[in-house]
Point group: C2
Chain length 116, copies 2
DNA sequence: CATAAACATTGATGAGTGTAAATATTTACC
DNA sequence: GGTAAATATTTACACTCATCAATGTTTATG
């Protein structure tokens, strides 16, 4: 196991933004998560997956929702997966991505939280 | 008054990510807000201001908290101000930035919210 | 095994971004 | 009014990033 924390692990560790100043290390850990979400296409991808039944969706369904090339969608999914916002599972020829809602909730608590 | 909605106005309008797929227009409106937060320096700036007494802080205090040039900090504050996350008020020679906590809370509700 | 389908990877490119140096602007005070 | 302090703006640059075309990989099926 690695000593490096993924962004989703990092975000679960800090008090809300408004309570105490975020340390440099914490900020460095959380920023990648926000960066991953800070793109219109990835925001919609995340929302499509999360709001889909079971909180998961097949890539085949996602490609059709955008006027973008397949590699581009694949790239965005990879970004969301790498920061830990999406889980990835292959079933036969299809790949399913699943939303990590705890990660979203931890991030939300960091941004808008009232207390630790 | 403008017909254009600022990012902070936009973010107050949508159901949570996990409830219903975000529309293209909604995503385009919200992404700039996340983009503004998706930088370690701006995250810390936002946190420094928001956690300061009264939810506001003088630029003079903020500059010293970073190992960055004054124009760079000024630039980041401008970014946060332009998306509506920070209010700006000049008092004499000093400029005070104030956190818009409702904006943060709306954003948090969008990301981690359970229902509309 | 050959072929097709689903998805990922590579490589290239144009647009955007964080940073600092230099300069400008505003305010206070002598 | 002249000077100094606080903050913003401009300009330039290195770097990142979103996108696509082309190609690769994996799985199923005939």
């Amino acid at each position: 196991m690695s000593l490096e924390l993924t962004p989703v692990q990092t975000v679960a560790c800090c008090s809300p933004l408004t309570r105490v100043p975020l340390s440099e290390k914490e900020a460095d850990g959380v920023a990648p998560l926000l960066k991953a979400l800070a793109d219109p296409v990835r925001l919609r991808l995340m929302s499509l997956v999360a709001s889909h039944e079971g909180g998961e969706a097949c890539v085949c369904d996602l490609n059709d929702a955008f006027d973008l090339s397949q590699p581009t969608i694949s790239h965005h999914l990879k970004v969301l997966h790498e920061v830990g916002l999406l889980d990835r599972e292959k079933r036969g020829v299809w790949v399913y991505y699943k939303a990590r809602t705890e990660a979203l909730q931890n991030l939300a608590a960091l941004i808008g939280g009232q207390a630790k």
